[in-house]
């Protein structure tokens, strides 16, 4: 099968959906023909669809999302880009109080099919304001869906589902994934929300990982295999809805779980997954649950500091060894 980069897979999803449905449009800072998006995801789309549908905005994150909400509840399917995930903090009211709650507050009268694309993640030395992973904030907001694709295939399929769906979605991308290539079929497809993907089967321990951490988990699994430890890697692909069953089934099989997540450990993604296991599958466990995550610090700038805080293969291997 042909291989394309994550960035291109996203662009294909946008292009296909824009061709299919005239109500789909994009808005965000510098996503248009003068720049093509800070990470070039939208490159070429303004040329094809025009500046009305690939709409550059002022630097006004809160209004970008608010405008998305207003358009979504009046018949459009906006895809908003927030240039860096850290900047969702500026739009948190529009995301969590307006987009997520508008259907509920109004008793189900309206749907809000707004997709918010944004890149999270550290690793390129751009420090505390451009490197966070904030998925957990959004998991805590009922009314939102949260997608966390780790491969080009998932990125394309999930983005298409997000755009076609009828709910607001925080579509979390990862800076380091944009150039990563993977198999993506030529023919159209979608990936459903709420269905985890077992990225690697194994017997001795389960690793649940998301986004860039899936790749580190897979590397760790390879290394561990050589040492005789067989690891299953489960990628939830969406955090809301979360496919608990696939995770629990894996734990039933392996009796061990390590949760790997790039966000700060406390009250992060890994906490929720750990809590689910502790509530619903504790009897299958043969060892404590382990979380591998960033320590509770902002992301530092200098390369040795930044590398120190990002969970790596070594940390994952160490955690797995502690439980098997």
């Amino acid at each position: 099968m042909r291989k394309i980069a994550y960035r291109e897979a996203l662009r294909e999803a946008l292009r296909e959906e824009m061709r299919r449905d005239p109500t789909v449009f994009l808005l965000g800072e510098d996503i248009g023909k003068y720049w093509g998006g800070a990470f070039k995801v939208t490159e070429g789309l303004a040329e094809e669809f025009g500046e009305e549908r690939v709409r550059d905005t002022p630097i006004s994150e809160s209004a970008i999302i608010g405008v998305g909400v207003g358009a979504a509840i009046t018949g459009m399917r906006p895809v908003a880009e927030i240039m860096f995930g850290d900047l969702t903090a500026l739009a948190m009211d529009q995301i969590a109080n307006q987009a997520a709650k508008i259907r509920y507050m109004f008793g189900g009268q309206v749907k809000c099919p707004l997709v918010i694309r944004t890149p999270f993640g550290a690793g390129v030395n751009i420090a505390a304001h451009h490197s966070q992973s904030l998925e957990a904030w959004f998991m805590h907001v009922p009314g939102l869906y949260v997608a966390v694709p780790s491969t080009p295939y998932d990125a394309k399929g999930l983005l298409k589902s997000a755009i076609r769906g009828n709910n607001p979605v925080i579509f979390c991308e990862h800076k380091l994934l944009y150039p990563v290539e993977g198999e993506v079929p030529e023919e159209q497809y979608t990936v459903p929300f709420g269905v985890a993907d077992i990225k690697r089967e194994g017997e001795d321990a389960t690793i649940v990982a998301t986004l860039y951490m899936v790749h580190k988990a897979l590397e760790a699994a390879k290394t561990l295999e050589k040492e005789g430890v067989s690891v299953e890697v489960v990628d939830p692909r969406t955090l809301t809805p979360l496919d608990k069953q696939t995770i629990i089934n894996s734990v039933k099989k392996t009796g061990r779980i390590v949760i790997v997540s790039e966000d700060c450990k406390t009250a992060g993604v890994s906490a929720e997954i750990a809590a689910i296991i502790a509530e619903e599958a504790i009897d299958y466990l043969d060892a404590p649950i382990k979380r591998v995550a960033e320590p509770d610090t902002p992301i530092p700038f200098s390369p040795p500091l930044e590398q120190y805080v990002i969970p790596d293969e070594k940390a994952i291997i160490k955690a797995v060894k502690e439980v098997v």
Binding site: A63, G70, T74, M76, Q94, F106, Q109
Partner: protein, 320 residues
């Protein structure tokens, strides 16, 4: 403006009365402990919502605020379902999930009220963008208070509407206070309308207690919007008769100021004008008043007799 059709003028008068009587009833019910939560009454500001909505068509949109009952009624919402929502009933517009601060009726273009001050502004702009992209001739009227004009969303929202020439009319209901805070203590300018200069759009001032003055300004803005010439900021100078919410005695307002504004009661003024100019005669006015009072009674009865939602309904409507 009195050369408007009698029908139109009568309808405007009736809507103003509906709001007034409705709010007085809500106040009564509240005093009897029948309204859960809090309420922000629109009493005294009727000319704004009615003047603006009279310039709109049914398919046009409005966005509303915590002080939203008047916007709903002026846009044509059903009084029964509005009252039922305020009482938290299953038959309310939002099945009891929204309450006084969150009423919407999408069937009449009432896109709903947000209780986060200023948060409706970019949402209104988004509806305006949607109109532009869908190429309809709709417009959006976005209501907000003078207090809201200090929020970042005011700035970001109006700027976007301006650069994209969206059909949005920003209606600042300047009732001089945000809770206990007088305008002069939170901004260094006299007129919110002047803020329009920062976005390169027209900013106009209307006597917010004169429904025809509001109507006239709104109509001009609507025409401009429909022609694709972009947004207008209209500041309506008005006053709320009651406290900010619930039990607020509004002691922060000087007595003379209150009296001055009570004397400018928009309903009294409009009624007098209609009578003076012979648009309506006294018996017609009385008939309308009786009819509206009866309508409101009916709405209250409907709302009171309606059931509460079943508790488990709390789990519905989170996702589509």
């Amino acid at each position: 403006m009195l050369n408007l059709a009698k029908e139109k003028l009568t309808e405007m008068f009736r809507k103003m009365l509906e709001i007034r009587f409705f709010e007085e009833k809500v106040f009564d019910l509240y005093a009897q402990n029948l309204v859960p939560g809090t309420i922000h009454l629109y009493t005294g500001e009727e000319a704004v919502a009615v003047g603006v909505c009279a310039a709109l068509e049914k398919t046009d949109y409005v966005t509303s605020t915590h002080r939203g009952h008047g916007h709903c009624i002026a846009k044509g919402a059903d009084l029964k379902r509005t009252m039922a929502e305020i009482l938290g009933k299953r038959t309310g517009y939002c099945k009891g999930k929204g309450g006084s601060m969150h009423i919407a009726d999408f069937s009449i273009g009432m896109l709903g009220a947000t209780a986060v001050v200023g948060a409706g502004m970019p949402i209104a702009v988004g509806a305006g963008l949607s109109i532009k992209l869908r190429k309809t001739r709709q417009v959006v009227a976005c209501f907000f208070g003078e207090g809201a004009s200090n929020q970042g969303t005011f700035h970001e929202g109006i700027n976007m509407a301006s650069i994209w020439r969206l059909p949005v009319i920003f209606i600042c209901e300047n009732n001089l206070y945000a809770m206990g805070t007088h305008q002069s203590r939170v901004m260094n300018i006299e007129n919110i309308a002047d803020r329009a200069l920062a976005y390169g759009i027209p900013g106009v001032i209307a006597d917010g207690n004169d429904v025809l003055a509001v109507y006239e300004k709104a109509l001009q803005a609507v025409e401009r919007a429909r022609k694709g010439e972009g947004p207008t900021l209209i500041e309506c100078k008005t006053y709320r008769h009651k406290g900010h919410s619930r039990v607020d005695p509004a002691k922060y307002r000087p007595k003379a100021e209150v009296e001055e504004w009570l004397a400018k009661d928009p309903i009294k003024r409009f009624k007098e004008k209609l009578l003076q100019e012979g648009v309506l005669i006294q018996v017609e006015v009385q008939k309308i008043e009786r009819e509206v009072a009866a309508e409101i009674e009916e709405a209250v009865k409907y709302a009171m007799e309606s059931p509460y939602p079943a508790p488990e309904e709390a789990l519905e409507d989170v996702y589509a």
